[in-house]
Amino acid sequence: MLRLEARPEPSRAMMVASPLIAAAAMLVTGSILFRFLGQEPLHAFYVYFVLPVTSAYGLGELLLKATPLVLCGVGLALGFRASVWNIGADGQLTMGAVAAGCVALYFQDVESHWVLPLMLLAGALGGMLWAAIPALLRTRFNTSEILVSLMLVYVAYLFLSYTVHGPLRDPDGYNFPQSKMFSDSALLPLLFEGLRVNLAFVLALVLVAGAWFFCSRSFAGYRMQVSGMAPAAAAYAGFGETRNVWLAFMISGATAGLAGVGEVAGPIGQLQPAIPGGYGFAAIIVAYVGRLHPLGVLLAALLMSLLYIGGESAQMELQLPSAITGLFQGLLLFYLLAADLFIHYRFKPRLREAPVAAAKPAEEGV
């Protein structure tokens, strides 16, 4: 028999290994599920997790889908480190997209290099503005930022729906709820000919580097980490909670807003109701699987992105339901939380012989 025993100190190796264990457990569960769905597990596994990345186009899609996940995930991870729970990134992404869309549509006929930077700025500000509401209510009125930021996701969806049904609807669009297509100067340049991945991915990489610097080299990052790990120590050191909450929400709001710009000025190219693809929620999983570390977030986002495009591949090749993606995502986080047990605990063989138990008190003096 095995029993759990507390480790003398948290295992650093398990910190890194636990997401891998979780991913492996998810893959095993996935194979069982594939068999259950009447597929040959190995083949389904290949179609889901390997086939999508065997072509240049597939790799481009992998980076494309990873972009909003990296952007949202990096921001959320910074907040989660300080125990600031922004779970409304999908709403902030939506508002960023709407703000950038307004700029793009306003300058519809202007050919200028300034349109895109202006859109990025508007998107970041839109996300920050939306994130400012839960931050303000939390710091000023003591209101749960979890519930407020989540409620605002639904409000943002409805606001987007209003804009594309109302003021921003394309008058020549046969009454479809969508805006005009953006002009070329309002679209992010593609990185490679023939692939859809665009400049937003580079922006995401820059932000990962910036977040890494912020976390490990800046005093503000240090303050946030202490507040998350040891609230009492942070309070004693005079690290104000208010400042952390605001910082966390402003950063994650801005990055989520930028993710929204990446979507509308990237593969979508217009405002339409389907812009928020649930990336803001998937980014919660990305942040955790990435160990709340910027580099980890990057890797986790690639894994999650593979789940998305694998789901599409499995749907096309094997007629597997695309809903399986959401199931895998949920499972991944459950497995990760369970595997994290071994950061603080380890298995030890249970000793059965009576003499050993009897000898125990004598050993204690040693």
Binding site: F141, H165, G326, L327
Partner: protein
């Protein structure tokens, strides 16, 4: 605004309030035992889809409700195992349960979208149901509407007047002391999480069997989160859940009756009302930190591990 619009408005308020009461009552009991389960939305979706499929297959809505409760309990069991046995972070695990429930329900219900079942049977009381005005207002609902209202004083009684309730509150306020006296803190918390799961499952099934008798992906539309907010609004007291749920029910159905009342506002803004109202109400309740400190279970959200 006139009376022929008012009666259907008030009557549909009861329908919208019922799932909120059930889900919030379950969460309230869970939270009183010291466990914060943010997975209500996910458990409701699991209940909604499983209850719907079971009803479709068996033709019996009661069976559907039973399956919904059991399915959501199974989902809450995952949460309970992670949080209570493996000592994971309650916020993160609750979020995971919601994300998992969203994915699982979409997967399980993929072939059932668009199908319908007969809606829950509405009761008919002799004489009373035929009364003008009062009949449609009070005596023509399905059984769950009445059951949810009756459950409020029942849960209130159990929590405040019985030994079981005392123990539940004790493990929520001071788990270490309760453990020292000899109460099985972890086992009781398991039971309370499962109870919350069962009620969330029935609440979800009420959506897919009663309010709109069909399965739509993500059909809870944030009601699980509103139920969580209701618990805070009620300052962890059952009677507040009743008041809050009917208030929110009214705001929710306002969007469908807005035109009747002559409100010339784009429908999207009317649909925002329940979410905005939730935020406003949370601010009003939480504004004074003392209100929260006095009523919130002391150990809410904190894991308890007995030193063996």
């Amino acid at each position: 605004m006139n009376v022929e619009h008012l009666i259907p408005f008030l009557a549909s308020t009861a329908g919208a309030a019922t799932p909120l009461i059930l889900a919030a009552l379950g969460e309230l009991v869970t939270e009183r035992s010291g466990v914060l389960n943010l997975g209500v939305e996910g458990m409701m979706l699991v209940g909604a889809v499983c209850g719907f499929i079971a009803t479709l297959a068996s033709g019996s809505a009661s069976f559907g409700l039973l399956v919904a409760a059991l399915a959501a309990m199974a989902a809450s069991m995952i949460f309970a195992f992670l949080v209570l046995t493996l000592q994971t972070n309650q916020v993160a695990t609750g979020l995971a349960l919601t994300l998992f429930g969203v994915g699982l329900s979409a997967f399980v219900g993929r072939d059932f979208a668009g199908q319908t079942v007969p809606p829950l049977e509405h009761l008919h009381f002799p004489v009373l149901s035929d009364l003008p005005f009062l009949g449609p207002l009070l005596f023509r609902f399905d059984a769950l509407v009445y059951a949810s209202v009756l459950a409020v004083p029942l849960v209130g009684y159990i929590l405040t007047k019985t030994r079981l309730g005392l123990v539940i509150r004790a493990i929520g306020e001071a788990p270490a002391s309760a453990h020292a006296i000899g109460y099985p803190v972890i086992a009781l918390r398991y039971a309370m999480v499962l109870f919350g799961g069962a009620l969330a499952g029935i609440a979800g099934a009420y959506l897919s069997l009663g309010l709109t008798p069909m399965w739509v992906e993500g059909m809870t539309a944030g009601r699980g989160w509103i139920a969580l907010a209701l618990v805070v609004f009620a300052t962890w007291k059952p009677r507040g859940v009743l008041l809050g749920a009917y208030l929110f029910g009214g705001v929710t159905v306002l969007q469908f009756h807005g035109q009747g009342f002559g409100l010339a506002i784009p429908s999207q803004f009317l649909s925002m009302l329940p979410y905005l109202a939730t935020i406003v109400v949370l601010v009003l309740i939480c504004r004074d930190p003392r209100t929260i400190l006095l009523n919130k279970p002391m150990s809410l959200g904190q894991n308890f591990k007995a030193d063996s």
